[in-house]
Amino acid sequence: MQFITAVSRFILPVITLIILIKCILSLWLGHPKEKTYGYIIDMINGERYALNMWETSIGRGSSCDITLSYDNVARTHAVFTRRIDGWYIHNINYVKWKKLAELEGRLSRSNRKNTSSIIKINGTRVEDKATVSDGDIITLGNVRLRFEVADDPVQKVGKKKKKSASAPSPVKHDYPQYDIDRHYEEVGSYTVETPGKQSTKKKSSQPRIINKDTGEAFILCGNEVTIGKGRCDIKLSSRHAAKKHALLILYEDGWAVSDCSGKKGTYLNGKLITSPQLLFSGDVIAIGDERLFYEGGRR
């Protein structure tokens, strides 16, 4: 018995060391590598932010994981979360904004003024939270971001897989404003199409400018489209037009036209414009002797 005790006194610390060192090294070092699960692309300057965590906060404040320094973005605007069943975006200021709006009793007006609670996915307003999927265009305030998934987040097994397969996706994929497919290829630029190619119903609902004289149609993409005689997105042949005559800007409420020719002037429905004017479907922009029709409805 004494012999066993004497031996065990030395065996036990050795076994303790082996067990604990092995387990702890595995706990510390065997951790899976950090991955990039997705990307957020700022469509204004093209900057790409990697989503390395399961939950990522986004906003103007420096404490956020992704900092967007735009005035219209709230200090903490949204949180992207990666869950078992996919990606979600959470509207952080929604509850606060709703309370404020209820208090003031002017929900609709606050809605316009306060951009800190505005999140849109492909133009559809997000209230509390919503699912996001690969390629979605997300608007925070009036800053547009594109969301990209880097890899399939979660290995779906058993019941979960069946559920997700049968459940209808809450994300709507009818994009009323933007041609998403084109965004993949040409971000922030316009595309030119001849009227003959315009056949699908989906494309006919997109905002566009039709040059009545030449019959060309320009689908409006991106944030700004320049019109003029020089190196512009929509090129005019009129000799009365300036090199850069007018600018189409995408605002929160839709496309607007603004004049940058100075003396020559731009006319909207026959009236000279002095400040940016919001466009409605059927509006006619007259530049020199060319007339451009705007089609596509206000957002």
Binding site: I18, I19, K22, L27, G30, E34
Partner: protein, 435 residues
Amino acid sequence: MTRKKKNGNGLAASTVTGGDKIRRKFKYVDRTFILTMLTVFQLVSFIPVVFSDGKVYFKIILQLLFYISFEWFYVGIMRIFIKKVNFELEFIAFFLSGIGMCLTASVNKDSMLKQLITVLAGIIVYDILLWYLQDIKRVMFIRTPLAVFALLFLAASFLYIRMFVGQINGAYNWLSFSGFSLQPSEFVKIAFVFVGAASLDKLLSSKNIYMFIIFAMGCIGVLFLMKDFGTALIFFFTFIVISFMRSGDLRTIVFICAIALLGALLIIYFRPHVAARFAAYRHVWEDIYGRGYQQTRVLIYSVSGGLFGVGVGNGCLRNVYASTTDLVFGLICEEMGILIGVIIVLAFASIAIYAMISSRSAPSTFYSISACSAAAMILFQTCLNIFGITDLLPLTGVTLPFISQGGSSMICTWALFAFIKAADVRAYPKIYKTN
């Protein structure tokens, strides 16, 4: 651009870095090897217990064999049915529980069965909690009801103890019904971690931590009324860790600590009897047969054990009151040696570091906060216990996680381990891609 991206990805996938090699090597431990080591350790350490007093204790042999076979079966079943590969945390818990059981059985042969049952109950609670924690939605759903229930439970049990049970060891913290007793504060620890942690969207959208502060202050207040100062201190420390993790603001934490210090000074000034409880602190050698009895015995005997100990069953500390509960660390140092004692302390510290590492890539801030706060709770409790019995801190009578005899503490520590485990994506191989 697309082509470049593809090339970049392909290159990254084919290049194996040094970090990858290490990761692959330590991805998981050899389960059979560690289980064999555990079995050898437990068999060797139990030999003096089984063959003590010139007798052979067959019931201890049976209970030990049951425990060892349970360890093997548990790992086997989890491997086959849940496809789990990582059992490191479980192995550490099995190991520490085994040491606790060995020392408990060596002091009192009849208490082994109870300890074994609580270990099994702890493992069941651990696995249920681990299963529940895998879905963040249901976790977030249960927080508020749990907070209300925990506060009510603590308050109700305090009133019950005050009216029907009375003080046990100078505190109102033992809830006993017909021979069965438990510590309500241990179970509230689980709720405390649950309520303190939250996912990032909830943290940012509510932004205030008033509800949590009210809950924490309620818990700590009731614990003060129960005179369970040790647990109150653990709760307060965990509260600071959670507040820091939620806000990331150091100034607030300094402010909270200053307020708490002021409150503590006021309590000592206006309620001298609270301070009187800790009068022996730093003066244990002046009253070695009275107030300093336990601490001085721990200091003397743990040193007399030397590096390798005197062997299980040969120590003197076992005759001192609470040798298997509060003073169990002294018993380990005396009978198994200071070396094992130090390794155990380092193991607790390593688990806290592990919680910090895994919280960086946890699937939600809920897991990060809960893992760190659970690890902090365990670490702080270990410190309070070890420093308390060695007179580095006032003796508050908290248990050493896993090792001290006691059901509530054992179950609670297993549950806290579930929080630490849940932060690691390797805990759910069926859900997350961990390769």
